[in-house]
């Protein structure tokens, strides 16, 4: 009982923490809507950054020690500023989305007005999610002090995550089960009853798509409405046609929107960049602008990838309906929802594996991984510039040390091999120079089942080690 109490207390606390985070993020997003404020904040930060650098370099190391607190503050500001850039990018994206939606609504039928509104809301949610992800400061919602080992902790987290997805499907199937109890299995009827919003949420959960969910929710809503309005024997073909008609043109528009957004962002950065002296700071800002290009490319690819996953999800659901229909026609039936859910996992798993085996999916996924790697590399370059004035070892400097260390290890190994070969050569003489304590070869002499606790003593050559 105590454990259950602790579980629900934690659950409640986590819900509250998450809500607080969302509220904070909303405030941040709102604060960034004024571009003048944004520029002003950016310039203030840059001035302070420059001032701190000047102070520290002018007064030497002792001054640096005195400035520890200032540096911490500066670092925080730098990270705040970075987040501000990202939030502004989000804001810009939302504006473009709104413009696009306005245009779209004016030219489309009344049927799409609701879609546009939903899309706008979805855009807001997605950018907030993305910002939340970027800032990475969310309290761990699965903090469970009673878990004493990480394996149990991970297993519980996994179980909890799986339960969230399970709950979504249970909720979606609830009305169908009620019907089933009255009238039995009816695939056509159930197909129309599927809450596509709920289904999309499920797919988002399973594939972890929420963090960068751009606009597909509203498309799926519209799609599901169209589906529900259809009632003819060629339903499946109509679904396919409507999907192509609705989604593909919008995907092309999305591509144009993203490119426009990138142009706008570059234009936004340009005046800020011109305010700066032609030095590292400017380089840094240019690199940040460059990274933004990667982000827009990434969003575009991700939108396409999500489209494929949703589409395949729908196919999986259709196939599932057919399989279950056959099952019921053969006199078989589900014992309960768990039984059905297991069958769904089996069927949908096969469908998604089919998708993942396609060239199109592989290409998209490859592009996303490559873009992500490129962003990481460019961010590292930005950090290199940011950290240059600070008394910290930068990545490039660490790499130099690693490389030297690697070369030395190789050289020692090679020399030891040569010495050993000399020893086994007839008429060999002891070398003139001998290092009694090489740093990299060690021999174990103590038996223990725990590798980490094995006592190791240095030896001059690994091959001279003896079995205990």
């Amino acid at each position: 009982m105590e454990n259950n109490q602790s579980y629900f207390d934690n659950w409640m606390k986590n819900q509250r923490d998450i809500l607080d985070q969302w509220n904070n993020m909303s405030s941040t997003v709102r604060e960034q809507t004024n571009m003048d404020t944004f520029f002003q904040k950016g310039q203030e930060w840059m001035n302070k950054f420059n001032q701190t650098v000047e102070d520290t370099t002018a007064n030497g190391r002792t001054k640096m020690d005195e400035n520890v607190n200032n540096q911490k503050e500066m670092w925080t500001k730098m990270m705040d500023n970075w987040n501000s850039w990202q939030n502004s990018l989000n804001e810009n994206m939302m504006n473009w989305s709104k413009n696009f939606n306005d245009q779209y609504v004016n030219n489309a039928t009344q049927n799409f007005t609701e879609t546009a509104k939903n899309w706008q809301n979805e855009m807001m949610n997605s950018t907030q999610n993305w910002s939340k992800n970027m800032t990475s400061n969310i309290t761990n919602p699965f903090d469970m002090p009673n878990m004493v080992n990480s394996t149990s902790h991970n297993a519980y987290k996994s179980m909890q995550s799986g339960m969230e997805a399970y709950q979504m499907m249970a909720k979606m199937w609830q009305p169908m089960f009620e019907k089933m109890n009255v009238n039995g299995w009816n695939a056509d009827e159930f197909q129309k009853m599927v809450d596509m919003n709920q289904f999309k949420s499920y797919l988002d959960k399973v594939f972890d798509l929420n963090q960068v969910n751009i606009n597909m929710n509203s498309l799926m809503n519209n799609w599901s409405k169209t589906m529900m309005s259809m009632n003819n024997p060629e339903m499946m073909q109509n679904i396919q046609n409507s999907m192509n008609e609705m989604v593909l043109p919008q995907m092309n528009n999305m591509s144009g929107m993203m490119q426009e957004m990138q142009k706008n962002f570059t234009a936004m950065v340009a005046p800020f960049s011109k305010l700066m002296p032609d030095d590292k700071n400017r380089q840094m800002m240019e690199k940040i602008a460059d990274v933004s290009k990667n982000y827009t490319d990434g969003f575009q690819k991700l939108t396409e990838l999500q489209y494929h996953i949703y589409h395949k999800g729908q196919n999986a659901l259709d196939n599932f309906m057919k399989v279950v229909t056959e099952k019921y026609e053969n006199g078989d039936k589900f014992k309960d929802f768990n039984d059905m859910y297991s069958e769904w996992l089996n069927q949908s798993g096969k469908s998604f594996e089919e998708l993942f085996a396609t060239d199109e999916y592989s290409k998209l996924q490859g592009d996303l991984v490559n873009i992500s790697a490129d962003i990481k590399a460019k961010n590292s370059e930005v950090m290199e510039i940011m950290m240059e004035p600070l008394p910290l070892v930068r990545k490039s400097e660490a790499d130099e040390i690693y490389l030297s260390n690697y070369d030395l290890r190789k050289r020692i190994h090679s020399l030891e091999k040569e010495m050993e070969a000399m020893k086994t050569t007839p008429n060999h003489q002891e070398p003139m120079v001998h290092n009694p304590n090489p740093i990299h070869h060690e021999e174990a002499t103590t038996t223990t089942p725990e590798p980490q606790e094995v006592a190791i003593k240095p030896v001059s050559n690994s091959k001279t080690a003896k079995k205990a």
Partner: protein
């Protein structure tokens, strides 16, 4: 429409039942202090940098006198072969009288990012093999490679046939030309230069994320399985041991990963006899020792076609192909494996132990 008049429980009620199980699961999981894997007794006998070699203690009568060195993959850890006492490929081999050494590639950090494929083959593996040869006063040892460790073993045996008496490969990819298997397919569209340049040492989580996408609904399925066994402590521990192994995913030295993915996965240089290691061509025709090639018929990580090809590529006249029903991991931890795999290996080795 078909009729089904029996009352079905409301899905949300079933969900509530599951929630109660989850609360029980929380309680049970909270009481587990430690999850042990790889508990067979062994002794550290050799080490170079972070790479270690262990020698397993064996109280059974040694029936195959030539010692066996096992080379596991750099991905995940060799602990899977001794996941628990009653599901242990290692213990089964020991009980059948094999003398076993095990390479442990360790946990590379950013400081190890410059280690190359050449280093793993010609420095670590070669020194490990030489250590056994010298300490056992023998010219040749038996080499057993698992998955990527099997690929390493094939390369090594082709470069140093004079040091290897028998070669055993298990679920080992060699021919990457076929479009079977998602990992091979996906690798075609990845820029490994960009990936390595940005990460340095490749993060184990990055690799695990890719593996989990191969079976996207498996995670949800695992949750269902866990719910069903949450009250059975033995089964729960079995589950947790496997989870511990899956999550124990070492990083990979970037330069080694770069060459492995580019030259083997993308360019198929090993199967085409174009791979160069420390200036020497790896010619599979030089692989002239007896070969036992074991593959899993349902392997979703290393497709059978990538393994089977090896037997036709080597120069050896004594080759055997062993098809094991099951998946990549099931070969080692499955119930059937406990009865069949180790005896098959022991029998094959014993007949070639002169």
């Amino acid at each position: 429409m078909s009729e089904n008049t029996e009352e079905l429980k409301n899905p949300m009620d079933t969900w509530v039942d599951m929630l109660q199980k989850m609360a029980k699961g929380y309680e049970n999981l909270s009481q587990i202090e430690n999850v042990d894997v790889a508990t067979a007794q062994k002794e550290l006998v050799w080490q170079l940098d972070k790479v270690k070699m262990y020698h397993y203690k064996n109280d059974a009568e040694i029936k195959v006198k030539t010692p066996v060195l096992i080379s596991y993959a750099l991905v995940n850890r060799q602990d899977m072969m001794d996941i628990q006492p009653d599901r242990s490929y290692i213990r089964n081999l020991l009980n059948l009288g094999l003398d076993i050494y095990m390479m442990d590639w360790g946990y590379p950090t950013q400081a190890d990012k410059f280690l190359t494929l050449d280093d793993y083959i010609e420095m670590y593996l070669n020194d490990g093999v030489d250590f056994i040869r010298k300490s056992e006063s023998i010219d040749k040892i038996n080499l057993m490679g698992i998955c990527q460790g099997g690929t390493f073993s094939v390369i090594y045996a082709a470069l140093h046939p004079e040091k290897i008496k028998n070669l055993i490969t298990l679920v080992t990819p060699v021919d990457f030309s076929k479009n079977d298997g998602l990992l091979i397919r996906w690798s075609r569209d990845m820029n490994f230069d960009t990936i390595v340049d940005s990460q340095g040492t490749i993060n184990g989580d990055f690799l695990n994320a890719g593996f989990s996408m191969l079976k996207p609904m498996m995670q949800a399925g695992k949750m269902m399985n866990l719910m069903n066994i949450i009250d059975d402590k033995d089964k729960l521990m079995n589950y947790l041991r496997m989870e511990k192994w899956i999550n124990d995913s070492p990083n990979q030295a970037g330069e080694c990963y770069r060459r492995f993915m580019k030259e083997l996965y993308q360019e198929n240089k090993l199967a085409e006899n174009k791979l160069i290691i420390e200036g020497k061509l790896v010619d599979l025709k030089n692989l002239n020792m007896p070969l036992l090639n074991i593959y899993a018929s349902e392997d979703h990580l290393v497709p059978p076609s990538a393994s089977i090809a090896l037997n036709d590529l080597v120069g050896s006249t004594d080759t055997e192909l062993y098809k094991f029903p099951g998946g990549h991991i099931g070969v080692f931890v499955g119930g059937r494996s406990q009865k069949e795999l180790a005896p098959a290996v022991e029998s094959w080795l014993k007949s070639r132990d002169n």
